[in-house]
Symmetry: C2
Subunit: 695 residues, 2 copies
């Protein structure tokens, strides 16, 4: 029988179609290294469950069996007929919450979890070790997540579109639910569980009230039922005006007893459908969404009303700090801080305030948000964006672990040196009672889930860092590549190198030296630095780059908006002197003269324009590097990435020419040698960008 299955698997590989990327990093193809197979086979004859076989534990067992049978081409029994040679799943109360231990003992491998999730994560860890052909003999490892709630936020709309989604339609088929269950829901849950994600907010923060109707709660319940065995809790983004929209209450004032009662009743109803419901995610008084301020109340009033409704069920309120008002004389950089800092200490215990990594909006590079370290009494959740809204959609190769790590490791100095953003978020700086992190999902109906195959790495890396922010971007890339592409050492190295450099390359060809928010209006595609009018001043480009004949950049020092003053003095020190400021942040904080000599030895204009040219050349370099792995990876997957790199090259040229030509109208300076003046005119470029604004 074993042989038959082995033959079957091998034949299957022979006749298999090209890989379409659907399986993500969960590829359980037969390992080609026979010695590794032999090593793992020593404990693969059975999987025994020595604890209550809850649905989550059964998921763990089934996944482990499926994985091992695929990787080793061996049949795995369900129970122990022998004393040794198997894997035992059990509980161990002494471990930290959701933690696990994998230990080789008495010829068996023990996966012990504090709880059922711990067991599940331990099983996925073992599979990851095997998929990456790592040693397991004599293993003894212990792991536990550093952050309690590790969420994905889906900006999915009820009609199946995704705000800022670049990988097709929403995975959730609202019209077909609850009676029709797409098998893909389960594969989605598997992928999340494999990287430790334990919660998902399934709908857009620009939320439709319909998700709180009975009609829709029955649909949400159907999804929750699929996710639960994978240890995943469901959250809903809510519309703050729901009492008014759904039941015609005269208002949605959080201090109105009728409104409070409405939310309490609604919470009860939600928990009748979903007993382990996670809670509400709220975007309020931001970009036109309703909120408590319309009624003269604060964000804390609004959040606490919801907290009161959810408290009996241990539900959480995740209240977003992404707010800014359209003040042409102000600085958007300061606004969330100005609004939320005074509220520190006023939020209920089951409220978390969710803060984007940077003060503006998911730019290719931002300084860390000044709220981190400034809210000691309020648990702050990190909000990263995995979907590449400002990072080239699904046509640009940008490995985001680099961006995530840069932010996580930034030092807030809130409690002295070493008070990194990561340590604020994981609670260790301020001893938060609850901790959370969110990533705005990049998943969609595209067969490969994320559009760009390399963007699968961003979903993966987000989950891994949410679990353990001390992992390095290189280590995460390494394991992802081995699980997804190839284990051939040369190819792993090539791909890893390319990934690790990719974000800096993207910054170079779009927004070097701290330039930010100069992309196409609304769509956020391509360059539009000339954008000078919009519905709001802070949606233009000129608001941010402030280019003039003298120079470029936003003066946020004490002589300007003094947004820099929101940071700890030690942080200010790094950035407040244009002579010593890290060039990556220069134009974030300083208006710099075109002739200003930089630490590179070049003038600002020369350095600035040269980086655009280098960025384009570096995309060419990525294409060359990618070509080197052609014969070492799946041909269909290879071709897909090669195609997208070619798109990126074309788009990078547009960025370069548009920005160099536009800013040249201020600097009046030539493109520095050895680079050549673009052959296209600024009008040519404007025409290309305008196409993407057409109906």
């Amino acid at each position: 029988m074993k042989n038959l299955i082995l033959i079957c698997l091998i034949l299957n590989v022979c006749v298999a179609h090209a890989d379409d990327g659907y399986r993500l990093w969960l590829k359980y193809d037969l390992l080609s290294d026979a010695s590794k197979r032999a090593e793992y086979q020593r404990f693969s004859t059975f999987i025994e469950v020595r604890t209550e076989p809850t649905p989550v534990v059964q998921t763990a067992q089934a996944e482990l069996k499926r994985g091992i049978e695929g990787l080793l081409g061996a049949k795995v029994g369900a129970t122990a007929k022998l004393k040794g040679g198997g894997i035992i799943l059990q509980k161990n109360e002494s471990l930290p919450e959701e933690g696990y231990r994998i230990e080789s003992k008495d010829d068996n491998l023990f996966i012990s979890g504090k709880d059922e999730r711990g067991i599940l994560y331990g099983c996925f860890e073992l599979l990851r070790l095997m998929q990456t052909e790592s040693p397991v003999s004599g293993i003894k490892i212990e792991q536990a997540p550093k952050i309690r709630l590790r969420m994905l936020n889906h900006w999915d709309n009820p009609l199946g579109t995704i705000e800022r989604g670049y990988a097709g339609a929403s995975l959730w088929k609202w019209y077909e639910l609850p009676e029709t269950i797409d098998p893909r829901y389960q594969d989605y849950a598997r992928a999340n569980a494999s990287i430790g994600i334990n919660a998902v907010a399934i709908n857009n923060v620009n939320a439709s009230a319909r998700f709180l109707t009975t009609e829709y709660l029955s649909k949400v319940k159907a999804l929750a039922d699929v996710f639960r065995p994978y240890g995943i809790q469901v959250f809903l983004s809510i519309n703050f005006a729901s009492p008014k929209i759904l039941d015609k209450l005269p208002n949605s004032d959080p201090l109105d007893p009728d409104v409070r009662k409405w939310w309490q009743e609604k919470a009860k109803e939600v928990y009748r459908y979903i007993p382990d419901f996670g809670g509400f995610l709220v975007k309020a008084n931001s970009e036109g969404e309703p909120g408590p301020q319309e009624h003269g109340r604060t964000h804390a009033d609004g959040a606490n009303m919801l907290a009161e409704a959810l408290r009996p069920f241990n539900g959480k309120v995740i209240w977003r700090a992404f707010v800014y008002s359209p003040d042409p004389a102000g600085d958007r950089f300061r606004e969330a801080y100005n609004e939320f800092k005074p509220l520190d200490g006023l939020f209920d215990k089951n409220v978390v305030v969710q803060v984007k990594n940077g003060p503006i909006d998911f730019q290719p590079r931002e300084p860390f948000h000044p709220l981190f370290g400034a809210m000691p009494k309020t648990p702050l959740a990190m909000e990263f964006q995995i979907t590449q809204e400002y990072l080239g959609f699904s046509t640009n190769l940008v490995y985001l672990a680099t961006l995530f790590k840069e932010c996580l490791e930034a030092d807030t100095y809130a409690s002295g040196k070493g008070s990194t953003v990561a340590k604020v978020v994981d609670g260790s700086v301020h001893q938060y009672a609850f901790t959370a992190i969110a990533g705005v999902a990049n998943t969609g109906s595209d067969r490969n889930w994320t559009g760009h195959l390399m963007s699968q790495a961003n979903w993966y890396a987000y989950g891994r860092l949410a679990w353990d922010h001390t992992l390095s971007e290189a280590q995460i890339a390494d394991e992802w590549i081995k699980m997804t592409w190839t284990k051939a050492p040369a190819a792993v190295l090539t791909i890893k190198n390319l990934m690790l450099r990719s974000r800096e390359i993207y910054v170079n060809h779009t927004t070097p030296l701290g330039l930010h928010h100069v992309m196409g209006q609304g769509i956020h595609f391509g360059p539009e630095p000339w954008l000078s009018r919009s519905a709001r001043p802070d949606w233009t480009s000129i608001y941010y780059h402030r280019a003039d004949s003298a120079g470029i950049g936003f003066n946020r020092t004490v002589t300007g908006s003094n947004a820099l003053g929101l940071y700890h003095p030690e942080v200010q020190k790094q950035w407040n002197n244009p002579e010593t400021c890290d060039l990556n942040y220069l134009l974030w904080f300083h208006h710099v003269g075109w002739n200003k000599r930089l630490s590179t030895g070049k003038s600002l204009w020369d350095e600035f324009s040269a980086r655009y040219y280098q960025g384009v050349e570096e995309v060419g370099w990525m294409q060359e590097e990618w070509a080197k792995v052609r014969d070492m990876v799946d041909p269909e997957m290879y071709a897909d990435v090669a195609g997208r790199l070619a798109v990126q090259y074309r788009e990078a040229l547009n960025w370069r020419d548009a920005c160099v030509l536009y800013f040249q109208t201020f600097s009046k300076k030539p493109v520095p040698a050895p680079f050549q003046q673009p052959t296209r005119t600024l009008e040519d470029l404007k025409k290309i960008v305008e196409i993407y604004q057409l109906k």
Copy 2:
């Protein structure tokens, strides 16, 4: 080797995942009937091409090889080493255009085509015969399409959404094109070619001007390059105001020489990219789209300007007749006729006017459009809707061949009895020099292409009827079921019966007796017969149903709008007497008293409300029938349809209760025995429908 492949295939079947429907009807799984395999094997040792191996011929050969190898588990050689036992592809100039002959002769099977497409279609025909286990020994069949241009119209938008699409996002990845070619494009083309579709308009008729920019033409070219080897021509929907939008011309007046020149230059550019480009599809002066009437010109002026630009390249203008102006005192039924009938004879030769099957808008049942038979000098293309905009999206099982056939076989009496709509469209009534038919596509990014697996049949049936409108709906269902689901005779019969009844069932539970246009506003989901205000009077429901205390229905006889007078007197005869009018069309043409005794012996109210109840019961019947085939079809596919039938049952209940309760407010009559008054209130139902109008 043969044996190895056979084992391989069998094993592959053993270990195969559940079927996700991706392969559509092109399943080349090993035939289980050994005697049939033996019969087909007699000519499957080689495929020889005895004509120029153009890309289309190579496609035909490759597809035939792939199909036969799958179906028979045998290796097929490329060239003849033996004299007999193979398949020979060749040309035969004596056949009609795109026609083919399949003939068994001298121990070989000859597939002869008039042209390369004929060969391609002949190969797919042979595969269909084998997939359905039909006899091929001694075969001699000849086939040719009755309509020249057999199109799909995609209402796909540039940002990836699909207007009236219910199967996910657009298949076309505009941001990734032209450098990245999704392998799915090819599978899409295969499916179309297999049913004889030879043209596709790839973008929404509410058209973005961006498709005519150089940037986008290079993307469209990439798609055209994929489709060309499958005999498929690309058309573009154009925005009539493109000269103004793209190049800032002062206007888009079709008689302005600069505008005419602009289109001529644009046509040249398009043909530089796509030498076999099909032409332009135009929605003008309809629902807010720009058109010639803004400049005081006629539809003919607009169409002829484009025709002039396309004429040097043999391109076609397909000009839609779907126009109607918001006149509360008028009758939308008449408007396209009123506008287009006077233009007959004024269109250039390369213009086709595309007319929807009915006079309103793709309702579950409509009388045929009165323009058919009324435009002897203007080729009229039929426009069917395959996507189920008004037919339950992708949650309702509605086999549309029944609807298509009903329209095609309707008699216009334009040249005496037997002047069916089909014969108008195929040119035989008026000797049109060119003929065309279009179906609004139901394809999307859903893995199974069409959302509801049973909706695959509508794509299939559209193609088959476009090729040969004399095929019966039962025959098409029969072959589709055998290719898609099962060849077990009992299951085929059950599924076929269910399909053939499905459209009437849908009519019963939504719009019986000729009721029309009472669905939810904008979204077109669910019932909203109470809709009394909208941006336009003819977007409300009351405009159409005209219910009052006396009765219900739109009087379109001579005492009413006299829209009926637009038809030939013989057609009028069928419908103008409420005593004898086919009940299916009753409320289309008559305002009928609630107490009026119908030919069924029941009063109008009793018949009307009873049909809603019957419709719901019939959905229950479909569920029971479907349960009977559970063990005879793929389990994943079975479950998907079962889930959607359950959704349909819930939705049918909503339709029934909403319509019965609402119209009861006029009739003031009880629900007739044995049916029970709904337990819900009209307010309950309104609340459910309103959910789907929320942001």
